[in-house]
Amino acid sequence: MSPSVFPEPEKFKPSRWLASEESGPIPEGQYQVAFSKGRRQCIGINLAYAELRFAIATIFRRFELELFDTSKADVEIVHDYFVGMPLMTSKGIRVRVLRELD
């Protein structure tokens, strides 16, 4: 447990990674371990970042979305099935697309 690295770890706080924030940025090179590190680091790390950037940037630039019948339980990881999984009764994350943005 390391609240010293990620204060309020349960919160989704992108600003913790920003250099401009008062608390100072988290050194992502050290503490971003989703891909592991070293010789066995995920080989697809560059591809994954590219897909994440294109997907998130275009979707949130172009559309107004809202969650549909989706709650925290649909993202909270409770299973170690090698991959992290939320409750298997989760119906998944669903959204309504309200409108296209100019």
């Binding site: 897909e51 997907a55 172009r62 090698f82």
Partner: protein, 346 residues
Amino acid sequence: MHISDPDFYSEIYHLKAHRTHRDKFYNLEILGPGLAFTTNHEVHARRRAPLAPYFSMQSIQVLVPRITSLVHQMNQHLRDAVAAGTVIHANHLFTAFAMDVIAEYSLGEEGTTGSLKRPNFGKWWYDLTQKQVQMNAFFRHFPLVARAMISLPDALAVKAMPALENFIWWQANLRAQVKAVLETNEKGNVPSTPTVIHALAASKLPPSDKTVVRLAAEANLLLGAGAETTAATISRTTYHILANPDVLKRLQEELVAAMPVAHEMPSLSKLNQLPYLNAVIEEGLRTALPVLSRSPRVFQNHALKYKDWVIPPGVSLTILQCSLFHTIPYSLSSLSPYTFSLTYPW
């Protein structure tokens, strides 16, 4: 041995100078001898060498037009949903996107799963994965059963464990595709665009690493890891953005400023430079825990020092990501671990 100290992570995982095997127990043998499940240090290095250039920054830059054409397809579905008023299943849509990217890159045009063109997008793969991953824990504890399953003819294996049906179908499908790749390669035909499994077939890997079984396992890991983890991260990040209006607002302000024309496709280098977008993605990766498993390293000749302790070579060492991320206590509380139960999900 788990060391609950984030500052020791670099000692175990960053060090490149030492020989480290992967811990056997945490391997998923049923998934075959792909790169990620190659325990031996040297064999791993040998198998990784011809694969790595295909995932370098430069190679991904070359891949961008193929990625963005799938981004277009994906966004078209969202546009259609505005008019139709339909609910979009984010996991299915993002699974289709990530699967189509990696399947086409790994196996070429013939390998593409066309998931974004299917009525339910990536539902077929999402459902298959949901079933298959639940068996990971079982096969980890009973590797002999896994080995037996692999050696059985497909029809018999399905009979023995019906939950494996789709998994076995998928493996057979990959073997057939890899066979076709090997035949193309033998004829000296080169694909028109870079394709990972073709490249491995044409590489200097020893023949034992280029069998149908080995390359099908590699394809399985590339597609499995490329689709499930990426899709889960995009989906869960989408949830968090929408559940946190202040995050959404700040993200959209940055995106509008950087991309004044909504429907124009940005360049990757432009996206790389957007601080808040990238902070959202880092936070998404932190909280999504796409790969949760312990991933122990076994140092072969090097003794590590932790405080006053000396950890001799041969000890299986790990730092569990979620204790470093500190997003969840590792108790899996919703599973009632202290309740004796013989009910399994399959």
